[in-house]
Subunit: 341 residues, 2 copies
């Protein structure tokens, strides 16, 4: 079983996942895509993956062709569902058992299509699968946060070319989410407003970092972008929980996502990227078993963060937490606004 | 001039350094070393770099051959010394002028030698240059922290092959250093001990993560390593400030550094890596102009952190602050201990 370890000086958790066991000879000079004679994410190869957890499938029985989106457990999970969450001190450190879940969302049966190439209706199905898995995993109170993310391209960490996203459920709230939640709570307590709403309004007024505005969503480059062409996609109206989006809202979100991904693909020639969905965490178990399985962190504002992987994270960034960005967010937004899509 | 921007939700600073201006077409699919017909860091090309700030040179006038270690301003600095530190709010954000310093330490005149290949006496000279520059830059009270780091190999962010390290002085204490300093202060206030000393003692007793022990230094893999084969080099005796090391101590540190770098080079076949020197910051100006130019953060414990760049930082890590490490620090330490150097 993997292990979560706490660094008392960096204040971060690390998952030591040695089941994926890497020895010195396993580290190659260049990262490479896994060679697969036949892709396990394509039609007809459903038996090459663990059995599906969920699928949107107009035809065929489970684990056969006919699906549009398919969710499976990761074959090499960094965290496993079986077992009990145990936490203890160890010298100056802390250690916790690696309980969690690790799922893969196969976004399309078509091997050669990226998420940007799918139709809005196909992307809506992907988003529906995200929502279904969020709601389901929240029923397990050991899981304190669900991390939904996508790695596109080898340099962004994707080991299989067939378009997919991943969902990792972790037994504690990750540091980045915990910080955002804390800031939102404190801001709301003193001002009775959402800090994200303030930020979105400020950006819509100033305009220079807006990439594209939709009736209910907006895409922009963040003011303090760590990386060139970093992007954020926000719902304009306050909403703390992605899982509360209805089908119509997911439909408009799909249009906004396709627009964002196509602009990026056009301007930067299909760059590697990561995106991650930030949403409020499930209700904590200390509150008892509630009727409502959603989140109660109402002062949070869910959104999507996207980072193209164009520059190296070097010694300075790693060692300081300071980032150096050679492209201003205003320039990046202008290039993306003018993209010929 | 570059600009420092604050993200109120991530609590981080970003240096927007557009003088290094990158447009969409500048982002290549693969990072590449700059092509240089003749290397500006080699003997005879001293006029191809800005004029030297400092050199250890047994012979020849400034900016000519004859040096052993040479320190120059970075030709493309992310921060500049000229100007005033100005800070203001901007909507929900903050912005600060990009005042600082950015220097390059050319570690050897020999183009084909890495730091691991230099003799302990040559490495001692490099360390002496680090110390000299620290002490000098501390006289400028606008500069709140000096970040000394090395990028080795293209994948670790080095754009020139000739072995060099860099020193960036910044107008505020970086988040990673600020967190460590805060933890050290709080730990000392409650226990009158150094948390790093506790950690080092615990590691020396448990032994499984120790790579090599010297009379006054020790190399180990951190318990909560974020990356495979991550390394730390600590002085065993409490010392808050690298700049207080005398020549004899730098001599032993050079031996320990060479040992660490050679083990890494042998076991992982010369991997790309970053290292960074963590030391206590200069005295703050609000205390007036002190006689002593050193640091007064006595409860800190200086050390060197090294990260080989073997794995990709993917969406999960970026989005959560959680790291997944496929190699246990205990295995990494065993491989490094057994290295045939």
């Amino acid at each position: 079983m993997s292990e979560l370890r706490w660094d008392p000086l960096k204040l971060h958790w690390v998952i030591i996942a040695t089941e994926r066991g890497r020895r010195p000879r396993d580290f190659q000079a260049e990262p490479q895509e896994k060679e697969v004679a036949s892709c396990p994410f394509c039609y007809g190869n459903e038996d090459k993956t663990p059995a599906e957890i969920f699928a949107i499938r107009p035809s065929g029985p489970a684990n056969s062709p006919g699906w549009k989106v398919r969710v499976i457990p990761n074959k090499y999970p960094v965290l496993r569902v079986e077992g009990e969450v145990k936490s203890k001190g160890y010298g100056v450190y802390d250690v916790m058992s690696g309980i969690g879940a690790h799922e893969v969302i196969i976004e399309t049966p078509r091997h050669d299509q990226g998420l940007a190439d799918l139709s809005p209706s196909e992307i809506t199905d992907v988003l529906k699968a995200y929502r279904t898995r969020y709601v389901d995993l929240r029923r397990d109170f050991r899981l304190r946060y669900m991390v939904l993310f996508k790695n596109h391209g080898i340099r962004a960490g994707a080991t299989l070319a067939h378009s997919h996203s991943q969902l990792i459920a972790v037994p504690l709230t990750p540091p980045v989410a915990a910080t955002e939640l804390k800031i939102c709570r404190e801001f709301f307590e003193s001002k009775e407003r959402c800090i994200f709403c303030d930020l979105i309004n400020f950006e819509l007024e100033s305009g220079s970092r807006i990439v594209k505005e939709f009736p209910n969503f907006v895409t922009m480059t963040p003011y303090a972008s760590c990386f060139p062409f970093e992007l954020r996609l926000y719902p304009k109206k306050h909403s703390h929980d992605f899982a509360l989006m209805d089908d119509a809202q997911l439909g408009e979100l799909a249009i906004a996502m396709k627009d964002m991904l196509l602009r990026l693909k056009t301007v930067l020639k299909d760059p590697p990227y990561n995106f991650i969905l930030h949403t409020a965490p499930p209700r904590q178990p200390r509150l008892g078993k509630p009727e409502y399985w959603g989140s109660i962190e109402y002062d949070y504002h869910w959104h999507i963060e996207l980072v193209p992987r164009l520059t190296q994270i070097a010694g300075f960034e790693w060692g300081t937490g300071f980032y150096i960005n050679p492209t201003s967010p205003e320039d990046a937004a202008a290039f993306l606004r003018e993209a010929d899509i």
